[in-house]
Symmetry: C2
Subunit: 201 residues, 2 copies
Amino acid sequence: MQPFDKRLDSLLAAAAKTFAERGYHATSMRDLARASGFSLAGMYHYVESKQELLFQIQDRCFVLVLEGARAAVATAPDPESRLRAFIRHHVTFFASHMAEMKVLAHEEDELTGTMRAHVRRRKKEYVGLLTELLTDVPGEHADPHIAAYALFGMMNWIYTWYHPAGPTPPAALADELASLFLDGYIAAHHATPRLVATLGG
Amino acid sequence: MQPFDKRLDSLLAAAAKTFAERGYHATSMRDLARASGFSLAGMYHYVESKQELLFQIQDRCFVLVLEGARAAVATAPDPESRLRAFIRHHVTFFASHMAEMKVLAHEEDELTGTMRAHVRRRKKEYVGLLTELLTDVPGEHADPHIAAYALFGMMNWIYTWYHPAGPTPPAALADELASLFLDGYIAAHHATPRLVATLGG
DNA sequence: ACTTCCCCCGAACGATCGTTCGGACGGGTG
DNA sequence: CACCCGTCCGAACGATCGTTCGGGGGAAGT
């Protein structure tokens, strides 16, 4: 890897961390200079603007989740385990790239023009992948589009509360969320009591 | 209602709309003046700072959801229907107060000092209410804390994609999300095919 | 008529923003 | 040696930020 790319990577990593902590608009280029060790003007040797920093972070992160998700899904034999593999991958990837994924989820609408369109296209691809997986599951169930957004909400929301170093390791969280979505909070484990309670009410 | 409070309300409403559209930090006081019809300096007659605008929006909104949720839950006879009532209320309230709820969900960490602590307390109260409802549901199920955050994620994420005037009315969305969370995406409607597919794989 | 008080605003304040400019430094290359 | 080029930065640019200042207008009270 060329020294240029190495330096750019370290800049992007520092920027992602700072954007995640303080938010895109609340972070100044001077903050980023301080956090990255670059000088204020020095950063412009690697990037054209503050917005391009956000774009690079989001685009690179999207490429990684996308190819990771495709790889995770590829080995699964049936629709449900493909869905489970997608969820597992998304959550564990999120947990191991917290800063970048928070920036991806939380600063969605801050890009403009071509960069915005570019990231939108990637997002559409990723959402489309999940929607397909949901549609492929046999049986009559909730609207796949609503289900996809509900699932993404469940998974992406973790940046507001989850700490990978806390009591729940990422893999355990992934399994919990996968089961919660796939099996349901009540019905899967206690279908009968629920029905009784419903009929009794 | 005093004219002062009426004017303040219209300022807060315009501010909530603008914050929701452009984000808190990306919105200038001049933007708010333009959107509300006040003059730049005139707004400071009703509010001490830009941050207090955000605080008032968030605090008032939290008071409304909290008392609305308590009222919705109060009439339900059993734990599961209380939970369902909470979800229904949260989603329909969200849909009818999109701007304020987006600001509440998306600009969570922008307050500082006393205002931050104040809103945090309200949030803790609201999260605590849902956690209790989840804990009250009989049977062994997922960790209520994780389930609470997962459910909030599912519900709060709607500000990123849902349009109340679109094909899915708020009440229908509320029911879809409630069923999705309570009954599960697969197991509740198709427990057997799911088991077969899993065993077959 | 005079005072009071709330409501309101044009204009300006100092600070900070993203970005740019002109040049310094150092290691190849001729 | 001179020359170039990738790397880097101190200092400054104009713009815009949140906020404040000093005062005007108009209704109410006396």
